[in-house]
C-alpha cells in the first residue's frame, strides 16, 4: 500500500467512526429523556458529523479520484466502511448510549490530543479543532455515567448492562496493525499508534467508573473487524437509511 493509500485509509477510519456514530446519535433527537439531552445529543452528533465531513473530504482529496465527502459517505457499501464496530451497534437505552459515549469520547480524546502533532498538517488541524469538541463529549458522558451509576438502583443496573453491551467493542479501538505501524513510525509520524492510547484511556475511564461505583466488565470476548470492513449486521441497515435518498438521485445536487 502506498503512503498515499495508507493516509486515505487512515482518514476513512477516523471519518467513518465519526459519521456512523453521528448517525446513531441523530436517532435520539426528539427522543431523549429530557430536553437538555435533545440539545446535547444533537450537539455531539453535529460535532462528529463536522469531523466526519472534514476527514472524508480530506480522504477524497488525498485519493485524488474525484470523490468528495458525499461520494464517500453515500456511495460506499458496507464492506468498504472502515469504522470500528463500537459505533454501529443500535443505541439501546440511554445507558447503552451513555456507556458508548464514555468509551468512545475518552478514546477519541486521547487520539486527537496526540494527532494534533501529526506531521500531516491537515490531520493536525482537524484534530486541533476536534479535541475541544471531544473534551466536552467526554465530560458530558462522564457526568451521565456518574448520575446513572450512582443514581437509583434501576439506573445502576441499567448502566451495568450498558457497559456489558459495549465492552466487547472496546479492544478494537486500540488495535494496531500494519497501517498504523507504518503511519506512526519515524520521527515525524502522521498517525497515532492506537495501542498507545489504551493506558491513558484506561486511567480516565477506570476513574470515572470507580467514582460511579461501577466496574469494567471482565472476561468479555472482544469483537473486531470493522477496520477491515467486516462489520456487524447492523451497519447495513443503518446505511440503507443513510444512503437511500441520495442513491435514488444519482448525480443530483442538494
Amino acid at each position: 500500500m502506498s503512503e498515499q493509500s495508507q493516509l486515505v485509509e487512515y482518514a476513512l477510519r477516523l471519518g467513518d467512526d465519526a459519521l456512523v456514530l453521528a448517525q446513531r446519535l441523530g436517532e435520539w433527537v426528539a427522543r431523549a429523556p429530557e430536553l437538555e439531552e435533545d440539545v446535547a445529543m444533537a450537539n455531539v452528533a453535529l460535532d462528529l458529523l463536522g469531523q466526519a465531513r472534514a476527514l472524508l473530504t480530506y480522504a477524497g482529496e488525498v485519493e485524488g479520484a474525484g470523490r468528495d465527502e458525499d461520494a464517500l459517505a453515500y456511495w460506499r457499501d458496507d464492506r468498504d466502511f472502515r469504522n470500528a464496530l463500537l459505533v454501529e451497534a443500535p443505541g439501546g437505552d440511554f445507558a447503552v448510549t451513555t456507556a458508548r459515549q464514555l468509551v468512545f469520547a475518552a478514546y477519541q480524546y486521547e487520539l486527537y490530543e496526540r494527532l494534533r502533532s501529526s506531521a500531516d498538517q491537515t490531520l493536525a488541524a482537524i484534530a486541533g479543532k476536534a479535541v475541544k469538541e471531544v473534551h466536552y463529549h467526554r465530560d458530558h458522558a462522564t457526568q451521565w455515567v456518574l448520575r446513572l451509576g450512582d443514581g437509583t438502583e434501576e439506573s445502576h443496573r441499567r448502566m451495568r448492562a450498558g457497559l456489558d453491551t459495549v465492552w466487547p467493542y472496546v479492544d478494537e479501538l486500540f488495535d494496531a496493525d500494519d497501517l498504523t505501524a507504518a503511519l506512526s513510525a519515524g520521527t515525524a509520524p502522521i498517525a497515532v499508534d492506537p495501542a498507545e492510547l489504551r493506558d491513558p484511556w484506561q486511567a480516565y475511564v477506570g476513574a470515572v467508573l470507580a467514582e460511579a461505583g461501577l466496574e469494567p466488565p471482565d472476561d468479555v470476548p472482544a469483537r473486531r473487524g470493522g477496520r477491515q470492513g467486516l462489520h456487524t449486521e447492523h451497519l447495513g441497515h443503518l446505511l440503507a437509511e443513510l444512503q437511500h435518498l441520495h442513491r435514488s438521485h444519482p448525480g443530483a445536487t442538494w
Binding site: V29, D38, D150, L245, W254
Partner: protein, 315 residues
C-alpha cells in the same frame, strides 16, 4: 394580582407606555394565566415541531444538509428550553407544563400534525412554516412581558436564519432535476394552506384577541398577519419558480396587497381538535420519549440529592 387598584394602575401604566412587565412586578391573574398558556403552547410547538423535521435526519441527501437539519432541530429544542424557562418566571414548572401537554390539556401548533413525506418537505417547513412563525412572532419581541419578549428576540433571529435555509434548500431543488423540482412543487402544494392556517381563525371568530391586544401580548390581528405572510411569500415563490396552489392569488394594486384564498378553517379546527394526520403519532412519540426517559430523570435527581447530602455532611 393580589389586586389593589394601585397595582393595577401601575401595571397598565407600564403596558400602555410600551414598557416591560418583569417577573416580580404585580400583574393581573388573567394576564399571568394567558401568558402561561401562550408561552407553553409556543414551547410545546417547538418540541413537537422537532418530530416532522427530525424524521429526515437519518436520510438527509447530503452531509451538509444533514448538518444543517441537525442544527435546526437542535435549535428547536433550544427554543423549547428558552420558552419553558420564560414560562417558569411566572411560577409554573416545566414538568407541570409537559404534564398538561401529555394529557391534552394544552395544545401545540396544528401545523406539526402534518407528515413530512419527502425531503422537500424539510425545505418547505423552513420556508413556509418558519416564515409564518416569524411573521407571528416578530411582533412578540415587543410584547409586554419582559422574559417572553427577550426569548422571542433570540428565537426570531434563529428562525429567520432557518427560513432562509429552507428557501435555499428549495431553490436547490427547483434548479435541480425534474424529479427534484416536482418534489418541491408537491411540498408547496401540501404545505401552503396549512401554513396560512397557522395564523388562526379569521379575526371575526377569534376569541380573546381584544384582551390580548389590550395587554400588549398580541399586536396585530390574525388576518393582518396572514396578509403580511402572503405578501412576503408570493414573490419568493416566483423566485423559486414554484406555483402557489391558489388560482385566485394575484396582486391587487388597489389594496396594495395580494388577494388570496383563505385556508379551510374547518380543517384547522378538526386538526386542532385532534383529527389531523399525525396528532396521535406526535403525542404517542412525545409521551413514549418522556415515559422511557423517566428512569433517567429519576437517576439524575437521586444523584443530585446524594451529592447535596454529601456536600452538607462534609461542610
Amino acid at each position: 394580582m393580589a389586586g389593589t387598584d394601585e397595582q393595577e394602575a401601575a401595571f397598565y401604566a407600564i403596558v400602555d407606555s410600551d414598557g416591560r412587565i418583569e417577573p416580580r412586578d404585580a400583574m393581573p391573574e388573567a394576564y399571568r394565566k394567558t401568558l402561561i398558556r401562550q408561552m407553553a403552547q409556543h414551547a410545546h410547538s417547538e418540541i413537537i415541531g422537532m418530530q416532522p423535521e427530525g424524521n429526515w435526519i437519518s436520510r438527509a441527501p447530503s452531509l451538509r444538509r444533514k448538518a444543517i437539519l441537525l442544527a435546526k432541530v437542535q435549535d428547536e429544542a433550544g427554543h423549547g428550553l428558552y420558552l419553558y424557562a420564560a414560562a417558569e418566571t411566572l411560577g409554573v414548572s416545566r414538568d407541570h407544563l409537559l404534564e398538561l401537554l401529555h394529557t391534552h390539556q394544552q395544545k401545540y401548533s396544528s401545523i406539526f400534525n402534518y407528515p413530512t413525506l419527502t425531503w422537500a418537505d424539510v425545505g418547505a417547513i423552513g420556508w413556509l412554516v418558519d416564515g409564518a412563525a416569524i411573521t407571528n412572532q416578530v411582533p412578540l419581541t415587543r410584547c409586554s412581558y419582559g422574559p417572553y419578549a427577550r426569548a422571542m428576540v433570540r428565537i426570531c433571529k434563529e428562525e429567520s436564519f432557518h427560513q432562509r435555509q429552507g428557501f435555499e434548500a428549495l431553490l436547490t431543488l427547483t434548479r435541480g432535476s425534474a424529479r427534484q423540482k416536482a418534489m418541491a412543487q408537491d411540498a408547496l402544494d401540501r404545505w401552503w394552506y396549512p401554513s396560512l392556517a397557522m395564523f388562526g381563525p379569521p379575526d371575526r371568530e377569534s376569541t380573546h384577541s381584544d384582551q390580548s391586544m389590550r395587554w400588549g401580548i398580541k399586536r396585530f390581528g390574525n388576518d393582518e398577519l396572514r396578509q403580511r405572510f402572503v405578501d412576503m411569500t408570493a414573490p419568493q415563490a416566483d423566485v423559486l419558480g414554484l406555483t402557489i396552489p391558489d388560482p385566485d392569488l394575484r396582486w391587487n394594486d388597489e389594496r396594495g396587497h395580494y388577494d388570496f384564498t383563505q385556508p379551510d378553517f374547518d380543517e384547522l379546527f378538526r386538526v386542532i381538535s385532534g383529527d389531523g394526520p399525525c396528532n396521535r403519532q406526535r403525542m404517542e412519540h412525545r409521551v413514549a420519549a418522556h415515559t422511557e426517559g423517566a428512569w433517567v430523570r429519576e437517576a439524575a435527581a437521586a444523584y443530585a440529592a446524594k451529592r447535596a447530602k454529601r456536600a452538607e455532611a462534609a461542610a
